[in-house]
């Protein structure tokens, strides 16, 4: 087990490093002159000499590989640079912005799991085919509705027409509700789609019939047998789901004018504030990696078939070793 974890940890670090490299390539290597992007533009009055000085200050006049290594070194020490817009360290900006985003993300995830999961279980449980089809047509609708429009519609109804929740701002629990619901829509729809597809599959597996042959009730087969098996594949995409929440926060916080990581991203992109954008992307990769590590730890506990993950073996070997290794 420890070996498994060590391998996973090493892989996680590898992914982080690779993500760092990708962001470096995108943000520093691609554009002709990052400094012009950050400070230049048509409306700027920065002179070419000032640009050159800035370039030297940022170390951007050095060759790319040197920049890469030195930036990486700084990043490993926790220094992600400073914002172009307000000169504050990137790490501080992100640290400030995370808590309000984490609040709506957590609430949104909870809502998504409960409602989406509940919908999937319910839709596959009901006997009536018509009801089942109707319920199952909801998730694709949830995925199709653009979250920015959904958020605006929520504001229109529940802030303006019925003044129940604030339309903007960060104050108090009630300001969490509408943004969390906005985040929960696409996430919940995705969870519902995956889980319902998985459930429909497991309900038709031969071992489900064995359970029925024992005299198990419909509920027992559904909740006691099928759900546990069906939930496993859904667990593997948790990392992607959390990443999606982060993405969703960009739009949601813009719609609701909430302070947080999402709005920080939006303003930074708008100002072409490269260090901040880089920092946020790295943060997102870090979150993804951590969540996946958590899933990797949990998954073997839930699925006894998984001892360690191996690459698929070539056909010949598999044909010869069926009796020895009991699993498929």
């Amino acid at each position: 087990m420890t070996r498994y974890l060590a391998v996973r940890l090493a892989q996680a670090l590898g992914v982080l490093w690779a993500a760092y490299t990708v962001t470096f390539v995108v943000l520093y290597a691609l554009p002709g002159d990052p400094v012009s992007l950050m400070y230049g533009g048509d409306s700027s009055d920065v002179t070419p000499e000032q640009l050159a000085a800035l370039r030297a200050q940022y170390g951007l006049d050095r060759p790319l590989p040197v920049q890469y290594v030195s930036q990486l070194g700084l990043a490993l020490q926790g220094d992600l640079g400073t914002s172009v817009v307000n000169g504050r360290p990137v790490t501080a900006l992100i640290a400030e912005a995370v808590p309000p985003t984490a609040q709506i993300a957590a609430l949104g995830l909870l809502l998504a799991l409960v409602l989406g999961g509940g919908l999937a279980v319910g839709a596959t449980y009901v006997r009536s085919r018509a009801l089942s089809q109707t319920l199952l047509s909801l998730p694709p609708l949830g995925v199709a509705i653009p979250s920015f429009w959904f958020g605006l519609t929520l504001v229109q109804w529940f802030s303006f027409t019925f003044p129940l929740f604030p339309a903007v701002g960060n104050k108090g629990f009630s300001s969490l509700v509408l943004p969390a619901i906005t985040l929960a829509l696409p996430t919940g729809a995705l969870v519902a789609q995956m889980l319902s597809r998985s459930l429909l599959g497991t309900l038709h597996e031969p071992w489900a019939d064995t359970a029925r042959a024992k005299g198990a009730s419909r509920a027992r087969v559904h909740l006691g047998h099928a759900l546990r098996n069906a939930a496993l594949p859904t667990l593997t995409v948790t990392g992607l789901v959390v990443g999606g929440l982060l993405s969703g926060a960009v739009v949601t916080e813009t719609v609701f004018s909430r302070a947080g990581l999402g709005r920080l991203t939006a303003t930074s992109v708008g100002a072409q504030d490269i260090p901040v954008v880089q920092g946020i992307v790295l943060f997102a990769a870090l979150v993804y990696v951590l969540v996946n590590l958590l899933v990797d730890v949990l998954y073997p506990l839930l699925d006894p078939r998984i001892v360690r993950v191996r690459r698929p073996r070539p056909v010949a070997a598999r044909a010869a070793a069926p009796a020895l290794v009991g699993a498929a």
Binding site: A213, L232, A320, A321, L324, G326, A328
Partner: protein, 561 residues
């Protein structure tokens, strides 16, 4: 129609009465009548075998008895009376009370019939928890006892394990334990041993017999194998195309079959045919009587193949093939026989040079080809071709038959388009397929027809050696016989040499001249087929032979042809 009804005081208790059952499936092509007008009964203490090929409706009938039909299926007509309960029209709650308690089901494929994330013991105990007011601990104890009775060694240890840690035979015993733990009156066993090796099959069926005779449990045994039915059943019910065509005791049905279908099935069943009369050898074939080519067609010497094992399974190597040598004479058939894991398929792939041997040599026509690679190896393919087991997987589903059959010709740039077309038609003729099949796709052909296409493809380049890897295992018995006859005829006509892989000794007897028996990668016996069958030298061979079902019939009872 079912037999006379028993009076209240005479005869054993009637457990199951199926009357005029009709089951229909709704498919994209319209309604399919899987079962039409089936009536049968099972009494306490008796074993009734329901025999038929695929599409006969036997599995659907069994599913109807516990009403676990597939989605899209409905019972059109008829009743299923199980000890007074009308299963066909019962409410879901009533069904739940009946299943597991009054009737137990042993499903077909043990590898997929157990919940993969639940412990074995819990799965067995669940039956008791559903039906009885048995506490968790008592149920667990009873579960271990049931596993022990089902013949599972170390039941206390196994009860804590998960299904993937058990072999196929062990899993089937678990399923038997699940079916019997609540002591049902009737057991429905749907092809309980088809997915298992033949020696394990016999053990399981023996055990099942033991368990049920003691308790007076009635058994409805579904099987495609007449030999199994003959050995195990008190009565046989033969089904075809959704109808019951014949019923009676084994002696009656097998000794003097009334229905033409039963007669045909009997004639085709390899396990019941006994020794094959050899019309082929009686008349020397024209190919053989020409100046015989010198030397064997294929020879392997001291073949060894090791596979590295994944670290998660402990590392090291698995020796799949251990010092195997044999000689395939020209124009003859050599069979490689063994159960799963014996190394027979790997040996065949080594001979075909699809896999590199760890050591040893392969000689084709006297020439050592162990070291050939690249273009020379590709050129070798013209002389050695292969027919695979699964007729569904071995043909590209998007290609028409003509293209499939001429692919080897195109690979070697033989002829032009017109000559290839002509050759395609010729090949189909050789395998007795109509010319209209040329433009069809595999999905439009039956299993037997697809296998013929595979054979035609193998013959396209006029090879010397054809390796047949379980070519008839996936086909129904009647179709098997046709394909085997076809292969024998082609051998006589074209002087082909066959390396025939099979797990089924009965089939081997029909078609091979020599046999090599493999176990755990080693040769345990080899020799002329009839000699090995009559006087097996090795214990393992003897065990394999005695496990062939239908021994009662072959011993002379009823006088099968």
């Amino acid at each position: 129609m079912s037999g006379t009804t028993n009076g209240p005081t005479t005869g054993p208790e009637r457990l199951l009465t199926v009357t005029d059952l009709a089951v229909t499936y709704r498919t994209s092509r319209g309604d399919v009548r899987a079962v039409r007008d089936v009536s049968l009964h099972v009494d306490a203490g008796e074993t009734v075998a329901l025999v038929g090929e695929s599409g006969s409706g036997k599995s659907t009938t069994a599913a109807a008895v516990v009403r676990l039909l597939a989605a899209g299926a409905r019972i059109e007509r008829g009743t299923v009376d199980l000890l007074g309960h009308d299963v066909a029209h019962a409410s879901p709650r009533a069904l739940q009370a009946v299943r597991g308690r009054l009737v137990g089901l042993v499903p077909q494929d043990p590898t997929v019939s157990l919940n993969p994330v639940q412990r074995i013991g819990d799965q067995v105990a669940e039956v008791l928890r559903i039906h009885g007011s048995v506490g968790r601990r008592a149920a667990a104890v009873a579960a271990v006892e049931a596993l022990r009775k089902a013949g599972l060694p170390d039941p206390e240890v196994r009860a804590r394990q998960y299904p993937h840690e058990l072999s196929g035979g062990m899993r089937q015993r678990v399923l038997i334990a699940i079916a019997l733990v609540a002591q049902p009156r009737l057991l429905v066993a749907d092809e309980p041993t088809s997915a298992l090796d033949v020696t394990v099959q016999r053990q399981i069926l023996d055990h099942l017999e033991e368990l049920t005779t003691g308790t007076g449990t009635g058994v409805l045994l579904i099987t495609h194998d007449l030999g199994v039915a003959a050995d195990r059943a008190d009565r046989i019910v033969v089904m075809s195309q959704g109808r019951v065509v014949e019923q009676g005791t084994p002696d009656a049905v097998l000794g003097s079959p009334q229905d033409p279908y039963t007669r045909a099935l009997l004639a085709a069943a390899p396990s019941l045919r006994g020794a094959r009369t050899r019309p082929r050898d009686a008349v020397p074939s024209p190919a053989a009587s020409e100046a015989p080519a010198p030397g064997p067609a294929l020879e392997v010497e001291h073949l060894v193949k090791d596979f590295p094992l994944p670290r998660s399974a402990g590392g090291g190597r698995l020796r799949a093939v251990d010092d195997v040598s044999f000689v395939l004479p020209r124009g003859r058939t050599l069979a490689l026989v063994g159960e799963s894991g014996s190394g027979k398929s790997t040996t065949a792939r080594l001979a075909l040079r699809l896999v590199e041997p760890t050591s040893g040599s392969v000689l084709v026509d006297g020439e050592d080809v162990t070291g050939t690679h690249g273009e020379a190896l590709r050129a070798l393919r013209r002389r050695m071709q292969v027919v695979y087991q699964n007729p569904y997987a071995s043909l590209d589903p998007r290609w028409p038959v003509e293209r499939i059959v001429t692919e080897p010709l195109r690979a070697f740039r033989v002829g032009d388009r017109r000559s290839r077309s002509a050759r395609a038609a010729e090949l189909l003729d050789v395998v007795a397929l109509p010319v209209t099949a040329l433009q069809r796709r595999p999905a439009e052909l039956s299993g037997g027809q697809r296998q013929r296409v595979a054979i035609a493809r193998a013959l396209a380049l006029r090879p010397e050696v054809v390796v047949l890897d379980e070519p008839v295992s996936a086909l129904d018995v009647s179709v098997q016989a046709q394909v085997l006859d076809l292969l024998a005829g082609l051998q006589d006509e074209l002087g082909l040499s066959y390396l025939f892989i099979s797990h089924d000794l009965a089939v081997v007897r029909q078609v091979a001249h020599e046999v090599v028996v493999l176990s755990h990668g080693r040769v345990v016996e080899h020799g002329d087929v009839e000699q090995v069958f009559a006087r097996p030298q090795d214990d393992y061979t003897a065990e394999l032979l005695s496990a062939i079902p239908g021994s009662r019939v072959r011993a002379g009872v009823g006088g099968a042809p």
